[in-house]
């Protein structure tokens, strides 16, 4: 959708202080706040292969190292490989009538690389059985990992034992439970029944690697033979096969395709989802989509007069109400630091600790399955101040604009509006169904250089009607005043004529 609202000349300040266009913002209905990709918690919903659209459970994806078992990418150009059929003689050489045996090989349609280039034998099944190579050092590395595991475990056990010993010095259980065996042994002068530390089973140590004096020499052929660049791999090709890192193209082997994911986004302060896709990889729909585009009035620039320093110019912007409820828009002057102070009082200078926060009530969770797991509440990050500078003043109108609810049928209705709204003719220039053109006066600040980019800003207050049924008795939908700081990039300053 970015191209519909782009170029990004109208930006909304997210609650976290970043400026984003409306298409990349979310609106949490529970907090009544704007959220963006930076200030929500991202979660992985489902794994799938982008080529065969196979949906994998996360445990299986983990087993397969986040790669698709059937799809491969080209080791040369990283595009997807396709399986091709190459017939290879009749299945029965004595009988000329028998159908030719089908053999399959992998081929890249972009760079013409094929599995035959590197000598991988053709397979008789289309789905593969393509050989996977193992790390040559796997055994040695496994040994080393085991050794370190055992070493650290021994250290840990020793520590715990030491702790126990220390405790034994000060606490005696004999008073309460009678004489213990260990205490009795001590009392009658026998050695305490603890194994000597040297006798204990020590972790088996694999022999450490042995350094060698002779090192691999510079290959002589580099000095004499001309280099054929098409045979030497690039660094990208090498890093695709990390454990081998082949230097020549005849050692390139097909690589399993990396899986993709669907993400759900969760508001960090109330733990509700703001976006949750459908599970099926073929579906582009969402289960939950609290995009700001559906909840917050959209602003677009219609026209702007040439901007001159110190002179007022007429700016016409269009407001569109995307909701099913009537809203009223009030334009207020921009407060750059006000919000910030407000939040500071709430959270203090340090990000609040997870313990301080109340765990979210499960009853209001839309997706209770996820939240039932041992999910810790998120840490609230202090919002940062808006970094955008404003170099034009907007004359704040005294009246308000009423926007009727969105009505899809009205788009095709030429009979005119049925709404009877008394508008301030100085403010509202034109209106149709849920849209209104509003005229504002913008004055770029004095003393700006020519061609300076002019950015104007104001606070848009709109009435948001919350449709979440809070309680049974309260049938009236909640109405909130919601303030959003909006920044308009109006273009460059021009000189006087």
């Amino acid at each position: 959708m970015a191209h519909v609202v782009g170029p990004e000349v109208v930006k909304y300040a997210c609650t976290c202080g970043l400026l984003k266009s409306i298409s990349s913002l979310y609106f949490c209905r529970y907090c009544c706040q704007l959220r963006c990709g930076f200030c929500v918690c991202h979660e992985v919903d489902s794994h799938f292969c982008g080529k065969c659209c196979e949906n994998l459970p996360s445990s299986e994806a983990r087993l397969k190292k986040n790669r698709c078992g059937n799809c491969y990418i080209c080791p040369s150009c990283q595009q997807e490989l396709s399986t091709r059929i190459g017939s290879k003689g009749p299945s029965n050489p004595e009988d000329p009538k028998s159908t030719p045996k089908k053999m399959y090989y992998l081929s890249c349609l972009y760079c013409r690389w094929s599995s035959r280039d590197v000598g991988i034998p053709d397979q008789s099944a289309a789905t593969g059985g393509w050989p996977d190579r193992e790390n040559v050092n796997a055994n040695r590395l496994q040994e080393i990992i085991e050794m370190y595991k055992a070493m650290v475990l021994a250290e840990k056990q020793q520590k715990e034992k030491d702790k126990k010993k220390q405790r034994g010095k000060y606490l005696s259980y004999t008073d309460r439970t009678g004489v213990t065996a260990a205490a009795l042994r001590k009392r009658i002068g026998l050695p305490v029944d603890i194994q000597h530390s040297l006798l204990k089973a020590k972790p088996k140590e694999p022999e450490p690697a042995i350094a060698k004096e002779d090192v691999e020499d510079l290959p002589e052929e580099l000095l004499t033979k001309p280099v054929n660049l098409t045979e030497v791999t690039t660094i990208e090709q090498r890093l695709l096969q990390i454990d081998l890192q082949p230097t020549t193209v005849e050692k390139l082997f097909p690589v399993h395709k990396q899986l993709s994911i669907k993400r759900s986004l969760r508001c960090r302060s109330c733990e509700h989802n703001v976006s949750k896709p459908e599970y099926n990889p073929n579906s582009v729909k969402f289960k939950i989509q609290l995009f700001a585009y559906y909840h917050v009035p959209e602003i677009r620039i219609v026209t702007v007069e040439p901007l001159r320093a110190g002179r007022p110019s007429e700016l016409i912007i269009k407001f569109t109400n995307p909701t099913q409820h009537q809203t009223t828009i009030t334009i207020l002057s921009l407060v750059l630091s006000g919000d910030e102070n407000e939040v500071k009082e709430e959270t203090g200078d340090q990000p609040s600790l997870p313990q301080e926060k109340q765990p979210p009530s499960l009853s209001s969770q839309p997706s209770s399955l996820l939240s039932l797991s041992s999910r810790q509440p998120s840490i609230t990050i202090k919002p940062r101040p808006v970094s955008q500078e404003v170099n034009a003043d907007v004359a704040i109108p005294s009246s308000k604009v009423i926007l009727p609810p969105r009505d899809d049928a009205a788009e095709y209705d030429d009979s005119g509006d049925t709404h009877n709204i008394q508008d301030d003719p100085k403010l509202v220039v034109w209106r149709k169904s849920n849209k209104a053109f509003v005229k504002l006066l913008v004055t770029p600040k004095q003393g700006l250089a020519l061609n300076t980019e002019i950015v104007a800003g104001f606070t848009m207050q709109h009435i948001y009607t919350n449709t979440i049924a809070t309680t049974v008795e309260n049938r009236e939908p909640d109405k909130h005043d919601h303030n959003i700081r909006v920044f308009l990039t109006l273009g460059n300053l021009v000189g006087f004529d």
């Binding site: 930076f38 979660e43 992985v44 794994h47 996360s58 445990s59 994806a61 983990r62 087993l63 986040n66 790390n135 050092n137 796997a138 040695r140 590395l141 040994e143 080393i144 990992i145 050794m147 370190y148 595991k149 070493m151 650290v152 475990l153 250290e155 840990k156 694999p206 022999e207 450490p208 690697a209 350094a211 060698k212 004096e213 090192v215 691999e216 510079l218 000095l223 001309p226 280099v227 660049l229 791999t233 690039t234 660094i235 090498r238 890093l239 990390i242 454990d243 890192q245 990396q258 899986l259 994911i261 340090q350 990000p351 600790l353 997870p354 999910r375 810790q376 998120s378 840490i379 990050i381």
Partner: protein, 372 residues
């Protein structure tokens, strides 16, 4: 359900953020899942920005947020929230960088535990050895730190700005004399020329490179195509000469070989021979053909000089790690991460927010002696 239990094991991410390339994978595995450039697409300007080109802490924070997002949601494919992480870092990593990284991980991604491991020490674990002289040649600098009996000897550290960055600059300058329009080439092309054409030559041939009338014939030249329309010539002399900058002594008479010898000089006399016979080279730059052989030749050459004669070293021995050099440090982190060390030594989120600082070796608070 044994299968289920095996899977419910916490997956621990092991991360090694390098200046040029970032190694990313899981503990207990033998190779990283991916090695990608340490760069992100800047949303404001829509250009690719390297992490190391950060302007200030705020800028670095934003870059790292985007970068870690890519790592988790493109490669790890799970949410970092409430998961542990192992970070492999150089002992000489700037404080600003490591603290910002910790802040991003704890505050923005809400990880449960962070274990920072020094790259020189953990790189050694791939060998199963405890004493070696570790030389890490990366993008910005080459750092040599001896590790004796499992302890990095920090006072003997040596660092010089000899890494792939200086090689790239050198290659650009050398190519400029033969070709036009080299200055505008992006660094990735220069890197590609370096990787595919250049190598470290032998000591005897290197001596001839600076002579007016060399007695050797240089390696054959390479025609390198640029963008399908232009061709630049990479002459044999350039191919051999590019890496010489690592071995030429600078104004202070320092180079890669003296670094190693100086580090050996600074440790205890009984350990010197052992270190010389246990040299481990890590970092992407050491993978170039001929690097090790030349380094050995240079070390022997330097031994004949007066300043190193007292060392009484007879031979230098090099280790071959069971992996490629560019991810040796990462592999060490993966080995450490597979152990119980994580639960014993890692910094937890609660502790981080309580103390609001990251333990660090120069800080005296973290350097007390434990009476074990």
């Amino acid at each position: 359900m044994p299968i289920y239990e095996a899977l419910s094991d916490k997956l621990t991410v092991v991360l090694d953020v390098g200046s040029a390339y970032t190694k990313f994978g899981f503990s207990g595995e033998y190779a990283p899942r991916c090695i990608i450039r340490s760069e992100v697409r800047c949303k404001k300007t829509n250009t690719i920005r390297r992490i190391i080109d950060y302007e200030n802490q705020k800028d670095l924070y934003d870059l790292l947020v985007d970068f870690v997002h890519v790592l988790y949601f493109k490669y790890a494919l799970f949410s970092p929230k409430d998961k542990p992480i192992v970070v492999v870092e150089s002992l000489l990593c700037p404080t600003l960088f490591r603290e910002t990284l910790a802040k991003v991980l704890f505050e923005h991604y809400e990880i449960s535990m962070l274990l920072m491991l020094p790259s020189h020490l953990v790189g050694l674990s791939t060998l199963g050895a405890e004493t070696a002289l570790v030389l890490d040649v990366g993008y910005f600098e080459a750092v040599a730190i001896p590790v004796c009996h499992g302890l990095p000897v920090i006072h003997a550290w040596q660092a010089l700005p000899l890494g792939s960055q200086i090689i790239h600059n050198n290659l650009r300058a050398l190519l400029n004399s033969d070709n036009t329009g080299i200055n505008n080439l992006p660094e990735s092309v220069i890197e590609d020329i370096k990787v595919r054409c250049c190598f470290v030559t032998k000591q005897k041939r290197a001596a001839q490179l600076s002579v007016a009338k060399p007695e050797i014939t240089f390696a054959p030249e390479v025609k390198y195509p640029i963008g399908g329309s232009e061709i630049i010539t990479v002459s044999g002399k350039v191919r051999e000469k590019v890496y010489e900058i690592l071995y030429d002594e600078d104004n202070d008479h320092l180079c890669l070989s003296t670094m190693l010898l100086d580090a050996i000089t600074k440790v205890d006399i009984h350990l010197r021979n052992k270190l010389a016979e246990n040299i481990l080279l890590i970092g992407g730059t050491v993978m170039v053909p001929g690097f090790k052989a030349r380094l050995k030749e240079e070390l022997h050459k330097q031994l004949k000089h007066d300043r190193y004669k007292k060392l009484k070293i007879s031979s230098f021995k090099f280790h071959t790690p069971p992996c490629k050099e560019n991810y040796t440090a990462w592999l060490g982190g993966a080995i450490y991460g597979a152990t119980e060390l994580l639960s014993m030594k890692a910094l937890t989120r609660e502790k981080y927010f309580k103390e609001n600082r990251l333990p660090d070796w120069p800080n005296m608070r973290d350097n007390f002696r434990t009476n074990n």
